[in-house]
């Protein structure tokens, strides 16, 4: 593990240099909020941001993505046969990603990279990407990454971690991929490791001290799944939900998708689009039967998936990194922190009366 110092000049030069070998993604301001976008020509990442409005998952996993192309023209030899299209396979660099968002890719990887099947679209994009993180000096009041397996200076899922230092950045190079990227960028001015560790340690401690919000997850694994499923609080939690997909679309760890065919003339594509468990259509059978036909069951599915099913399936924490986006953007203020608390504290034995929460 090495440390390098990047001053403002080197920073700008480095980002430009990277664009020659990478597709560079970074936060840019759009209106009031920041979003991760592919940086064009002389565009620089705008690093003065709290967190982006949408998560950066689209850099790896676009909202709408062509899987295959085909022709339905029967005069062609290969009619009706699906083919993988040529793609831009230039490596990607995601610059300025927050540690919580970077960690989310590791959670999502569990879904797309399994012993039995590998999702080639996600995995190829993921493998081709170098993640350059940016430590979080000022967490939002609704962030709770420190109690969701991550932290403002957490290194999991990152190849490089940047922190503000003097007029530029200090970079901690964490992986070979990170080393290749910093070299390509010309960020090679070594910095004393002992001193750097101290800077990183102090910054992390200061930032962690600022967290106002947290969740407890210690009991989730032990409460039987069916007890939580049958808990009386779901109707109350779900009441205000309007079943829009906002939470799922903003969430860095929501990965569900739909597969659709579209043709223009004889030219067809099979593509996949983000989908949402909040939509009734998500589970609707051809017969009209719907296993999650009501709102309560869909809301329950979202929280059970993140806070129980995932916990049970992988035995490695919750499917949430504490970025707080769903809390901030839910139009009706359903708060995963509150739901998590209710689930974590749930005692099926003590259920003798209705559990309407007091707020």
């Amino acid at each position: 593990m090495t440390f390098v110092k990047i001053d403002q000049k080197k920073w700008a030069e480095g980002v430009s240099a990277l664009k020659k070998g990478y597709q560079v993604f970074g936060p840019v301001k759009e209106g009031k909020d920041h979003e991760f976008r592919k940086l064009s020509g002389d565009q620089m990442p705008e690093m003065d941001y709290g967190n982006t409005r949408l998560s950066p998952k689209a850099a790896i996993y676009p909202q709408s993505e062509v899987m295959f192309t085909y022709t339905t023209d029967e005069r062609k030899d290969d009619h009706h046969i699906l083919k993988e299209p040529e793609r831009d396979e230039t490596p990607k660099a995601v610059i300025g990603i927050r540690p919580c968002d970077a960690f989310s890719f590791l959670l999502v990887k569990k879904n797309f990279d399994t012993p039995e099947y590998k999702d080639p679209f996600w995995l190829r994009a993921y493998d081709a990407t170098t993640f350059v993180g940016y430590g979080c000096d000022d967490p939002c009041s609704s962030c709770f990454c420190t109690s969701a397996g991550s932290g403002p200076f957490d290194e999991k899922g990152l190849d490089v971690l940047l922190v503000d230092h003097e007029d530029g950045y200090l970079a901690k190079v964490l992986t070979e991929k990170g080393k290749a990227l910093t070299e390509k960028a010309g960020w090679t001015q070594a910095f004393d490791a002992g001193q750097a560790e101290k800077v990183f340690g102090e910054k992390a401690a200061t930032a962690e001290g600022k967290f106002e919000s947290q969740i407890s997850t210690d009991r989730l694994a032990d409460i039987p799944s069916m007890d939580l499923y049958d808990a009386p609080f779901w109707e109350d939690i779900a009441f205000s939900c309007i079943n829009c997909g906002t939470c799922t679309y903003l969430c860095p760890t929501c990965w569900c998708f739909d597969i659709q065919d579209e043709c223009r003339g004889c030219d067809g594509v099979r593509m996949r689009n983000w989908d949402s468990c909040m939509s009734s259509l998500f589970t609707l059978h051809g017969s009209g039967h719907n296993p999650r036909g009501d709102k309560v069951s869909r809301v329950r599915q979202r929280f059970m998936h993140k806070l129980k099913y995932y916990v049970d399936k992988y035995g490695d924490g919750i499917q949430c990194v504490g970025c707080g986006r769903c809390v901030r953007k839910c139009p009706v203020n359903i708060d995963i922190r509150k739901v998590c608390e209710m689930m974590n504290q749930y005692d099926p034995e003590a259920q003798n009366e209705c559990a309407c929460p007091t707020t």
């Binding site: 676009p62 709408s64 993505e65 062509v66 192309t69 299209p85 040529e86 793609r87 831009d88 579209e262 223009r264 030219d267 594509v269 593509m271």
Partner: protein
């Protein structure tokens, strides 16, 4: 909304007014043909990322 002018027509034709129907249909197709191919709201093929 940006639909090109002249592409949207309304008419009220009773089921008994066959000649009016023919007349309107002819006029509308003629008018639209003169405008040439539609330029707005043409859906392109999905692009490969």
């Amino acid at each position: 909304m940006g639909i090109e002018p002249g592409r949207l027509h309304f008419s009220w034709i009773s089921s008994a007014e066959s000649t009016k129907f023919v007349k309107v249909a002819t006029e509308v197709t003629q008018a639209v043909k003169e405008l040439g191919p539609n330029r707005h709201f043409v859906k392109e093929k999905v692009k490969v990322a």
